[in-house]
Structure formats: structure tokens, C-alpha cells
């Protein structure tokens, strides 16, 4: 895991503030440092771990799924961000990437799979179709997956470039990391990646 430990810090924990933990003290490699002590909350430590080990579920529906595969294959290689373990079983995954258009026939299946995922779970809506049915505003499609499942990150594009999806993933990681990990979670305001 190559995430620098300085990411543990909130913006308010800047080293200039008296009493704040200095990032140098939290050098990678663990809890060595000058004092030999790292201070953080369990919440943050769990958040850091969760954010950097996302297991997405392979939920390819249509064209966007091809770009999702491109994201995980050579060149774009999503494993750089710790999210390459694509699982086909909902029970082993915590992120559902809805890649593609969702038809009314598929909608109950999607909900069922979402319900089978263990908490905590997140949903990334990939592409115009998943977010709002895109160019197909008609009888056959669900006009946005947010009518079926709560969405955390919207990635626009038809199809979004793999880079855009990775950007969405990083935004989601930030969101996971700074969320409350125990008890009631913060209200999840969805994030939209700027095209």
C-alpha cells in the first residue's frame, strides 16, 4: 500500500497548529518516527483501510462495462488504486459499479444483488445511462439507478473514459475515508465527477 500517511490528517490538523501531529512523525513504514507513537482515531484508521481496499462487484450491463474492463486491464490498471479485485459475487464486494443502462426487467435483479452485499457498501453510477438513462429516455429503461439504489458517486460520459471512472473511484475513496465508520454514518451526499 503506497498511500502516504499524511493522508490521515484532516485539513484542520495542519502541522502548523500547535499540538497537531506532524506528518514527518507518521512516516511510512509504520509507527516508528521520532516519538514511536502515531496518534489517530480508530475511526480514521478503519476508514483508511476501507478506502484503499475496495472490492468492486463486476456488474457490467452494457457498453460502459467495456470501458470498465478497460479500466481494469492493461494501460489504465485500476490496481494502482487498490480496487482491482473484481468479484462476481455480491457477497464478497463492497462497491457496486453500475456500468450501463438498466432496463426495467433488470431492475429487480439489481436491487436484489444490492441487498445481498454486506454493509458497508457503496454504489458508483457509471455513465449517462446509469445516472439518468442518457440518450434513451423511453419506456424500457429505468431513468437513473438512483431510483433503485442509493448512489454515492456519479460519473458522467457515454461511455466515461477509464480515467474518469478512476477519478470517481478516488473521490469515493476520499468519501469513505472521511466518513464515520461506526454507528450512524454521515448523510451521504452524492458526488459528481466533473466531465
Amino acid at each position: 500500500m503506497t498511500v502516504p500517511f499524511s493522508r490521515w490528517m484532516r485539513a484542520s490538523d495542519s502541522p502548523e497548529q500547535p499540538g497537531a501531529v506532524r506528518p514527518q512523525a507518521l512516516d511510512a513504514g509504520g509507527f516508528s518516527g521520532a516519538s514511536g507513537v502515531a496518534l489517530t482515531t480508530v475511526d480514521r484508521a478503519v476508514g483508511w483501510a476501507r478506502a484503499n481496499s475496495i472490492w468492486p462487484m463486476l456488474f457490467g450491463l452494457a457498453c460502459c462495462a467495456i470501458e470498465m474492463m478497460a479500466m481494469s486491464a492493461a494501460k489504465h490498471d485500476v490496481s494502482r488504486f487498490g480496487a482491482e479485485v473484481f468479484r462476481s459475487s455480491p457477497r464478497q464486494s463492497d462497491l457496486m459499479i453500475v456500468a450501463g443502462r438498466l432496463s426495467k426487467k433488470m431492475a429487480p435483479v439489481l436491487r436484489r444483488l444490492y441487498d445481498q452485499m454486506p454493509e458497508p457498501k457503496w454504489v458508483l453510477s457509471m455513465g449517462a445511462c446509469a445516472s439518468c438513462s442518457g440518450v434513451y429516455n423511453n419506456y424500457a429503461l429505468v431513468q437513473g439507478v438512483d431510483r433503485i439504489v442509493p448512489v454515492d458517486v456519479y460519473v458522467p460520459g457515454c461511455p466515461p473514459r477509464p480515467e474518469a471512472v478512476i477519478d470517481g473511484l478516488i473521490k469515493l475513496q476520499a468519501k469513505i475515508e472521511y466518513d464515520k465508520q461506526f454507528g450512524k454514518q454521515f448523510e451521504r451526499a452524492p458526488v459528481t465527477v466533473k466531465a
Binding site: K105, N138, Q143
Partner: protein
Amino acid sequence: MVQQPPSEGATQGDDETPPPPPTDIDLVIERFPGSFVPSWRYADQMPTVRVLPEHIREAISWLRHECQTRYDMLVDVGGSHWPDRDEPFEVTYILHSMTTNARIRVKCAVAAHGDELPVIPSIALIWAAANWPEREIYDMFGVEFTDHPDLRRILTPNDWEGHPLRKDFPLGEEPVEFYRSASAGA
């Protein structure tokens, strides 16, 4: 609809057949009474013949097995709905011959009586390729195929109501709501 298509009257159309030697179209017209060449623009120059629904199975079977040009590949079966015509539901079969690369289009049109579904004999038993396309036409246009081995909906859910590609089925567009973004000000 802006313009009415020319009506496909049963009486006209015979004068459009090309001169001899007799084409497969001529032979079909000869063999199956009531068939004719519709007076309609076929921009792809594919020879076209329309046969009566009661003859469709024999006509397809004849074209496949007995006719000189063996049409041995069923390329496509598609439906269409022309609400302004007398026989609004049209099924189009496109056949291809591997030996001569010739293609022929056979059409068949039926009317619906009241609320009942229009009925056409199925060719799925004599040509397995027609199985799913016929199910699709049943699903999309509500044309019933008699003697079809497995006539169920294929694309829409089983409890779907209506036939989406009929002209009286609404597109089902939902109005798009535009929000003013927060950065653009009130």
C-alpha cells in the same frame, strides 16, 4: 404522419413485374393465388412479393426446398405497424440463396379484428431460425403466430402490458428536470 403511403391495393401491382424469363417472384405469384408485388418503393432493389397469410408457410417452404434458386438462409424476420393501412400489421421475411447470392423479400400483412391479436401462421416449425424473431414480433407488435412452439414474450418482462413497437404505444419519455447549479447563482 405527414404523408400517406400509397395504398397497397390487392388489384394493382401486377404490371410492375419484369419481362421473362420468369423470376421467382412470378413463380410465387403463379403458385400462390392472391400474391402480388406491392406498389411501393423498395429502395434497395430487392425483389419483393406479398403473399396471403394462409399461404405464407407453403410459400417459404417452396422457396427453400423446391424453387430453382434455393433460398437456404433465412436472413431476417421483422414486423412493422402501419396504422393507416387496411392490414396494419406486416411481417417481412428476407431470404438468401447461398448458391446465387440472390435475395428475396416476402411480405405478409394482416388486420386485427377488434381487440383480438392479429394472427399469422408461424414458420418456426419449418425453419428454426424464425423461432425467436417471431417471438420478438409477438412481443413488440402483438402478432400471434399459430403453431409456434414456444410463443412467449422475449424482450420485455413477462408481466408487461402492451406491445411497445405499436404506433399507439407511447414512447414513455419522462420530462427532464434541469436544476440551476449552485455556482451559477440564484
